[in-house]
Symmetry: C2
Subunit: 383 residues, 2 copies
Amino acid sequence: MEQNGRLPENSSDLKGDAPDATDFANYFCTYAFLFHQKEMLEDHKRTGAYYTAIMQNQAQFKDKVVLDVGAGSGILAIFAAQAGARKVYAVEATDVAKHARKLVQHNRLGSIISVIQGTIETVELPEKVDLIVSEWMGYFLLRESMLDSVLVARDKFLKPGGALYPSHARLYVAPIRSNLTHSRQNEFRNAMEGWASFTDDMQRYYGVRMDCLNDSFRDEQKQYYQQTAAWADVSPNQLAGRPWCFKQYDLLTVTPQEIIDSFKEHFELQIIEAAPIEAFAGFFDVQFKGSPENPASFEVLLSTAPDPQCSTHWGQQVFHLYPPINAQPGDRISGDINISRKKENHRLMQVVFQHCIIPRQQQPQAATPKLQSTERVDFFSIE
Amino acid sequence: MEQNGRLPENSSDLKGDAPDATDFANYFCTYAFLFHQKEMLEDHKRTGAYYTAIMQNQAQFKDKVVLDVGAGSGILAIFAAQAGARKVYAVEATDVAKHARKLVQHNRLGSIISVIQGTIETVELPEKVDLIVSEWMGYFLLRESMLDSVLVARDKFLKPGGALYPSHARLYVAPIRSNLTHSRQNEFRNAMEGWASFTDDMQRYYGVRMDCLNDSFRDEQKQYYQQTAAWADVSPNQLAGRPWCFKQYDLLTVTPQEIIDSFKEHFELQIIEAAPIEAFAGFFDVQFKGSPENPASFEVLLSTAPDPQCSTHWGQQVFHLYPPINAQPGDRISGDINISRKKENHRLMQVVFQHCIIPRQQQPQAATPKLQSTERVDFFSIE
């Protein structure tokens, strides 16, 4: 099937299947555009972190076999080849694979990199790999559920002792101030006023009474304006307290089931600045540490935390709170975050916060830390 | 199965299947929101035209059996019941059917209207119908390809001599001036400049040469900025000549194959105002004339032509021309329009204009009316 670890480009042995049509319509389709690839590539905090993680660890890549999962333009595969990999398999499901193939040839890496168009779930490789590189992170880390595919790749193709780049991921939540909370609330109010005059018109013009749908319309708009997380580039000035890390993943050992199942984690947010807490901000970081058997010589961190110098295309996910929480410096917001996948579309998420304020003066004495009066539950989806 | 032509609500005999999952993701999903239903309903030129067409033709609806295809909120079914229909079947594929059911009950029409959730292709009705009402028109009439379903309904359920509301449809093209042509051209140029500095950065930061993708990126951006029709609410002031009707459909006799097949039609645009022709505007109208056996007493026209008083949510589809056509008053733009469905998604369209200018002074003498020098072809998709 192959000689010297090299395979001819376009070898029919190395083709996978296209994504399922519905998943393509919902998800993969946007990634086929160069415009979108450019947007990701020119996020230099992202691309630079991968570049550094790979190029500063050339000892780990030298003469190794590498797999790039969801390769897109093939940039990580090219970095791996630049770092001295013997062979790189770049697996990409969409037609952007064709661009990746061009790029590989143009950069004279065709003898090292094989671009394979197909989903990782359906691809077969002629050998196991030493390293998996992948940029699989979605909003709030888990949106898109692409980590599923990375774990499939790990379990199918990674040699014992092999490493993933990145190797670890962490999820954070932080209390913030946000003017948008107020303006979204106004938009919601306007939408409801618009509905009221609309139903009046329908009755007046056509004799049709539509008020029986008031509650349904309110629910729909509430979900849109109040219960959908919003993308934002949060300024560190908006932070009203330190971020709390509520979840850590070791990507080498986490099971596929663990990331499919919904989970609940505790958080404690110490309030430092006096202000109504208008939202929670959710974000993540990933670490490039190699594996226990093949640790990185140079560890790299890619963080999507609020950063005054340099934001990422992920920004943060902001969960606006209606009404805001009246917390004072020294208070704590204590609660649980519950994360699950949406039933209708496994690439989208449902996030529920169940929390209460623990006032500063009460903390030392409090035997039961939860105050019934401030207990609340906030529901969100990440679309 | 039934008594007195009435069926219990939620009868299991009257259920259809949900849409195919991919078609749902691509198309049906947006229609499930009340917000979107509201947007269509408060287009009073649209809703008012249907109201008038039904209420001014009560003689045609009195004691009749009516089918509403793609009923949405059920408004047309309600109009039909208000006009005296004996029985109305309102078929709707999405969950908005649940709202329609509520609306029907709330307006005390539950004994007349049965809301059936399912696609028309999979629904069975207990009887044939006298009339079909449907608001199936997409941008430039044919986008969404929902007429397919109306013709399925016609061929499955309409009694001989029955009528469709609307009964006829026409497609138009007109030469217009548009500032947007220039600004979209600028955006395209900016996008290409952005790409140039991006590829410079990629080379400088990461040693990756991406210039081999210049042409692909240009093609992609060209398609986006120059070859995709844009929604616009065109002012009649922008018209540089009279609209030309290039296609007429009698919905009672048109075959399903005729609307599936791509077609080519001739057009002649007489230029009246001196200006570069920066775009073609495409739009449609539908007529409510009943059928030969059951003609409407009062004919109604719903037009989406540029209108200073009252626009519709359809607006017009604008096909920006790069470069604009330098035509003078008295010149004619003569050509063919070719319309087909997109291969990847049958609900989207491909429109090709093949045309040339016939200068005024040349028209009387011209034996062969086409001037080779001005012949051009412009490609567009309607997304």
